[in-house]
């Protein structure tokens, strides 16, 4: 089980996403997951080994490392990516449920005019309307919440997004205030800023997608309202025309039979 499997799960949702949703999936997997796996994990690979404190007191290094890094950056990013990707599974489950119900109705003989066979149902792209619209919108909403929450946790845990090259630590069993040195602080800062920027871009994409979906619904409703308003006038015109036609045909018949009008 690895990131490839998550990619397979989320990739299946891609077909039913909007264009902005497709861009979001691409950004997640290329600029975040790939960077995490091929680069960031190497940078943080020896983080505890190369964390050095200016003391020979056993245990001081462990305690200071634990105090300044309660959760490693890498693990927090991995958790963030997992939590941010999973709301998309709600959409996948909804689509799977919809397809199962359609297949059941097809087997009962109800939707034979809409689909040729069961394969046709599987290939059909499901439109984002009705209950699926609500599921999709909720998934985007949760994504935004998770992104914001993790960014805040990062800021809160590490006092910002910058890693210093030295930390002062005086926790027991350290005998006094000792200097502790982090390995590769500049490289770690660069990657932290990169991941945070990618996170911000993903959040903006999610907000844009949410606005797009809301506008689409409002536009569709106003269009439906307009056609309903036009339709009664059109029906009235048609019925008047029918009456006129009947009168004309009646008078025509009377003229041929010689019956006085």
């Amino acid at each position: 089980m690895d990131w490839g499997t998550l990619h397979t799960f989320i990739g299946g949702v891609n077909k039913h996403s909007t264009s902005i949703g497709k861009v979001w999936i691409t950004v997640i997997f290329i600029f975040r997951v790939m960077i995490l796996v091929v680069a960031a994990q190497e940078v943080w690979g020896d983080e505890q080994e190369d964390f050095v404190c200016n003391t020979l007191q056993p245990g001081c290094k462990n305690v200071c490392y634990d105090h300044f890094f309660p959760v490693s950056h890498i693990r927090l990013w991995a958790l963030q990516l997992i939590f941010v990707s999973t709301p998309a599974l709600l959409v996948a489950m909804h689509v799977a449920y919809y397809r199962r119900e359609t297949a059941r109705k097809f087997r009962r003989g109800e939707k034979r005019n809409e689909f040729k066979d069961l394969e046709d149902i599987k290939k059909q792209k499901v439109r984002i309307e009705g209950s699926l619209w609500w599921t999709y919108t909720s998934s985007i909403f949760f994504r935004i919440i998770f992104e914001a929450a993790f960014m805040y946790v990062f800021y809160f845990l590490y006092n910002g997004y910058h890693l210093p090259w030295v930390l002062k630590c005086g926790i027991d069993p350290c005998p006094n205030l000792v200097d502790c040195f982090i390995s590769r602080p500049t490289e770690k800062t660069v990657f932290t800023v990169f991941m945070i920027s990618a996170s911000v871009i993903c959040m903006l994409l999610n907000v844009a997608e949410l606005c797009y979906l809301l506008l689409k619904v409002c536009f569709r409703r106003s269009k439906r309202g307009q056609t309903q308003r036009n339709h009664p006038n059109h029906a009235l015109k048609e019925s008047k025309q029918n009456e006129m036609n009947e009168l004309i045909s009646d008078s025509g018949q009377n003229a041929t039979t010689g019956f006085p009008s």
Binding site: D2, T5, D66, P70, S72
Partner: protein, 268 residues
């Protein structure tokens, strides 16, 4: 052989699961297996190398580490994942057995080997109970082995060959505690899902049984109704009971002779 093997095995279970079963599978794959592989495994990577005791006596660190961590938490987590996933394979085995039987006898023995009724229902129920048992068992084991779900930063150790009570420091205790709490919460979520699925299956079966009994009692009451109609038709015109009973055989007002015939056919 790796976790991919387990993933491929479990993917086959998806077809024969209920909706809640599929949610359970998604939770296990994403929040337990994936988190274990991409994050948790690395946290416990250097656990013995970074376990440090405040003593230079050779062997003291080894003995203390072995005493406080008889089985590493991460290995226990892996064992739990394997044990909890395997009862689902009973269902796959059952379906494969049914399909094998049909092939051997070269005729259709079952309506569909994958439908959830009869023997497969019992197999699914047993697999659910065993899964829940394993989950709760491992949680209790975790709690008893490590005295709770938190990892302390310091442990006191005075086992031989340590000359006195020494301080031993565990590496990354906060991160380990966070991941253990994550494991416990996902485990509890899976237990809750199993209980819901169990109740759903049992309720569905009870409702089906009640519905099967109810038409039988309806048939016998229709028969009695026709018998009553026969008697009433003999006395007056249209019997009042006809208006209340929903019978698909008796819609119109029958004559005396017809009523008797209907009753006889129902009885037979």
């Amino acid at each position: 052989m790796s976790w991919m093997f387990l993933r491929d095995l479990l993917s086959g279970v998806n077809k024969y699961s209920t909706g809640i079963g599929r949610i359970w599978l998604a939770v296990v794959f994403i929040f337990r297996l994936l988190v274990y592989m991409v994050a948790a495994e690395h946290v416990w990577k250097d656990e013995q190398k970074e376990f440090e005791c405040n003593i230079r006596q050779p062997g003291c660190e080894n003995v203390c580490f072995d005493y406080y961590f008889p089985v590493s938490q991460v290995r226990l987590w892996a064992l739990q994942l394997i044990m909890v996933s395997t009862p689902s394979l009973l269902v796959v085995l059952h379906v494969a057995y049914c399909e094998g039987r049909e092939k051997r006898h070269r005729k259709k023995l079952y309506i569909s080997p994958g439908t959830m009724d009869g023997g497969l229902w019992y197999t699914y129920l047993i697999s659910l109970i065993v899964k829940t048992g394993f989950e709760i068992g491992f949680l209790v084991l975790f709690y008893k082995l490590y005295d709770g779900f938190s990892v302390p930063y310091l442990v006191k150790c005075d086992l031989k060959p340590c000359p006195n009570t020494v301080d031993c420091f565990i590496s990354k205790p906060t991160e380990k505690t966070i991941f253990i709490l994550f494991l416990v919460s996902t485990s509890c979520l899976c237990v809750i899902l199993n209980f819901i699925e169990l109740s759903f299956l049992v309720l569905k079966c009870l409702i089906k049984c009640c519905l099967q009994k109810y038409p039988k009692s309806l048939k016998s009451s229709v028969c009695e109704c026709h018998h009553l109609r026969y008697i009433e038709c003999g006395e007056t015109g249209v019997p009042p009971l006809l208006q209340n009973h929903h019978s698909d055989s008796a819609i119109s007002t029958p004559q005396r002779g017809e009523t008797k015939l209907l009753c006889d056919t129902h009885k037979s």
